[in-house]
Amino acid sequence: HLYSNRYAGDKVIRLIPNTEEEAYALKKIYRQLKVDLWQPRSISYVSEGTVTDVHIPQSGCRTLLAFLQETNIQYKILIEDLQKALENGSSLQTQRNRR
């Protein structure tokens, strides 16, 4: 597996906070879970209406999803398993095999 399979189970989730309260709550949990923010580039940009895409490691997925369900924040899973997406999208594996 590429990258020693380190991204297995990681997800990329899209959230759009509908209110400033939701945005504040998201920023707090992003900092707690130390998410990898794909967009916007900085947590400081997250506000009402901002499209936020977060890469969350497998270890933090359950906590984040539970939080989102608790707070009723709408979300969409963009990438269900980052490792699979990585391996499906490239020919690296083929190249490695050839080498």
């Binding site: 990898d36 967009q39 940009y45 890469h55 999208g89 490239s90 190249q95």
Partner: protein, 309 residues
């Protein structure tokens, strides 16, 4: 050979550098490779100068890709651009005009250390790889390290953040090397283009403040026509506009710095997609992404040549 290199897969840093060496030897009438310095980890910072050699004074366009390590479609586009330039110079009147009247300085991988790290360790690394003596975190956001309202809105002072602006402007040797080159050649560099991902937006200054640039009319017109041309290929929509209102306010960007330092037409592309694949744009989408972007770049270039002072 040019045609044997596969432009529809992502290449490692070593492969890209070998490709540059090869082109420098085999296409010396149109390409000259040179180094503008060394990265933090000691890697050469290669630039390709494209264009027909001429004794006459020629203006130039600067193109850089891969400022953020994980945005692999950027370097893929830079390679595509060079390939198209060489392959179509004789057959495409537009390309011939571009290379006859202008030089293109193409830096396929700006952040060489970060790019190599994203290949070998962390696919989602963004920053450079410089060390910080106080913290365990490495790297600076190369697009927050320029001396234009440095470390203000949209940048972070914390070394562990992905938008860390650095200990001081141009602290990163990669940024310093490019800045030095652009300062030295600013009188004949007419346009600056930087390629990033993802969002499908074409941006122009300002990023660091909400204000209209003095040459708004020509810049907006060039951007508008470019996104229309881009969309005409596969129907993919790009937004366009000043970075501060189209995206968000952020300080210390290369686009703003280049503009402030006298390069009149500066743009930043955020290439495909809008989040379905994000940074993991599949290799099968390299061709359509690069084809449409190529048209946008040719459009901008010709617009600037013909319509803008």
């Amino acid at each position: 050979s040019l045609s044997a290199y596969n432009y529809e897969v992502y290449h490692s840093l070593e492969e890209i550098q070998n490709w540059m060496y090869h082109l420098n030897k085999t296409h010396s009438s149109l390409i000259h490779m040179f180094s503008i310095g060394k990265s933090y980890e000691g890697r050469p910072l290669f630039v390709l100068k494209l264009g027909r050699r001429s004794r006459a004074y020629k203006k130039a366009v600067w193109i850089d890709c891969g400022m953020h390590a994980r945005e692999w479609i950027g370097p893929a586009f830079c390679q595509w651009f060079v390939k198209e330039a060489l392959l179509t110079y004789k057959s495409d009147p537009t390309m011939r005009k571009m290379l006859n009247y202008l030089h293109f300085y193409v830096m396929p991988v700006f952040n060489v250390d970060g790019y190599h790290f994203s290949w070998t360790n962390d696919r989602f690394w963004r920053k450079t790889r410089s060390r910080n003596s106080m913290f365990g975190c490495r790297g600076v956001d190369a697009n927050r390290n320029w001396k234009v309202k440095w470390c203000d809105v949209g940048a972070s002072m914390h070394p562990c953040d992905d938008t860390y602006c650095g200990p001081f402007p141009e602290s990163e040797p990669e940024v310093k090397a490019v800045a030095k080159f652009l300062r030295k050649h600013r009188k004949h560099i007419k346009a600056y283009l930087s390629f990033h991902a993802y969002a499908q937006i074409l941006l122009y200054p300002y990023s660091y403040k909400r204000a209209t640039i003095p040459n708004f009319n020509c810049v907006e017109s060039a951007a508008h026509k470019a996104v229309n041309a881009l969309q005409s290929v596969y129907g993919v929509r790009y937004r366009h506009g000043p970075a501060s209102s189209t995206l968000y306010v952020s300080s210390g960007s290369s686009m703003d710095w280049a503009y402030k330092n006298g390069i009149p037409y500066t743009f930043a592309f955020e290439l495909r997609d809008t989040g379905h694949f994000g940074f993991l744009l599949p290799e099968m989408l390299i061709r359509p992404t690069c084809t449409e972007t190529m048209l946008a770049v040719k459009n901008i270039t010709m617009h600037l040549l013909k319509k803008c002072p």
